[in-house]
Amino acid sequence: MSAEQSSGGGTVEYIQHHLTNLCAGECDPVTHAANGFFAWHLDTIFVSLLLALTIVFVGWRVGRNLNPNTPGRFQNLIEGIVEFVSGQVRDTFPGHNPLIAPLALTIFLWVWLMNFMDMIPVDLLPLIAGWFGIHYFKAVPTTDLNTTLAMSLTVFLLIIFYSIKVKGPVGYLKMFLFHPFGKFLVPVNIVMTLIEELAKPLSLALRLFGNLFAGELVFLLIALIGGTAAIGVAMALMLPLQAVLDLGWLIFHLLVITLQAFIFMVLTIVYLGMAHTDDH
């Protein structure tokens, strides 16, 4: 990467390089970006699956030897998260559905962990990947729209499923026809409700993606401060500045990633709660 930084267009190239997924399948041979539908973002899939397996493994370890009397420190932590999530579900979800709470817990844990990849120094994972001959590595799966959209589409499918299950097919159709303006403005109603429903998964996916993408970009810009400084006096000035800025953004971003995971979880609960109510 030092070669890129020393060249004139190094900054742009540095950022672009960092924001390019490791692509396999139908990819552009020059820009390395996806060039067709069958393009696999291997880094996204690898990291998210690794984190998912971590959750499964840790969950299995904790769930296997639960101690109701004297919980260990780690069990306490997991218990705290579980109780926090189930408290959110209790507060915002009307009725009873045993799927909602584990779904919310999964979203919170997975999204938080994937967001947490943003906390790892931006050049570290690509550097390690480079040792193995992998030259493109975008470590944060939630900066890939495929991940966020995959989750929000799954939620969207659940919304449709439970809407039809609770309201009935006719009731669901009626919601499109007569909501929100009554029976005299049916065409408007259809457009409005369609937009409203489609906005749910799109806003979920784009909010998370946007926040994390922007956060990653800021980390890249901060990383450039020290990198672009010439060797010498400027370096002595720029490197501490970079460190301080990085720390500040790190602390702030820790809040952001938690908040984004929380928002995704709560909105999922709210949307599914709306699907479970009959009063449309």
Partner: protein, 156 residues
């Protein structure tokens, strides 16, 4: 940033993760939390019950104590009454016994006095007879004058 087949891979991963989290983490932990909640509420109920029972038994103990005190004072009163009765009885008995003793002593004294008187009378009669004999210069035949002597004795 293109939407690719990665989307479906991620969806599959997400759905599987939900299933695994539900099965491995959420299920056991929820059951454990429910069990713990039940145990805590049971414990609290048992504590409440124990407290109630303690109160009840304390009340019962107090009642028993009061009753015992009452009984004790009753018994003491009875005993005192009985003691005074016994003392009274003993007193009257003693008085009666004393009276009896006095009466017996008096009777004995009377008897002794009578006996002494009798003796004295006899001796006086003897003396009188002897004196009379001396005066008359002859022996009074005791047998002859028995009637006379007796009469004399009776007169003394």
């Amino acid at each position: 940033m293109n939407i690719t087949v990665t989307l479906f891979a991620q969806m599959a991963a997400f759905i599987m993760l939900i299933i695994f989290v539900n099965k491995l983490l959420w299920g056991p932990m929820n059951a454990m939390l429910a069990e713990r909640q039940k145990r805590i509420s049971d414990g609290l109920a048992a504590a409440e019950k124990g407290k109630h029972e303690l109160e009840l038994s304390e009340k019962r103990a107090k009642e028993a104590l009061v009753e015992a005190k009452n009984r004790a004072s009753e018994i003491i009163a009875q005993a005192e009454k009985r003691a005074s009765e016994i003392i009274d009885g003993a007193k009257t008995e003693a008085r009666a016994e004393g009276g009896r003793l006095v009466a017996a002593a008096k009777a004995e004294i009377d008897q002794e006095v009578n006996r002494a008187k009798e003796q004295l009378r006899k001796q006086v009669a003897g003396i009188a007879a002897a004196g009379a004999g001396k005066i008359l210069g002859r022996e009074i035949d005791a047998n002859k004058h028995d009637d006379l002597l007796k009469d004399l004795v009776a007169q003394i």
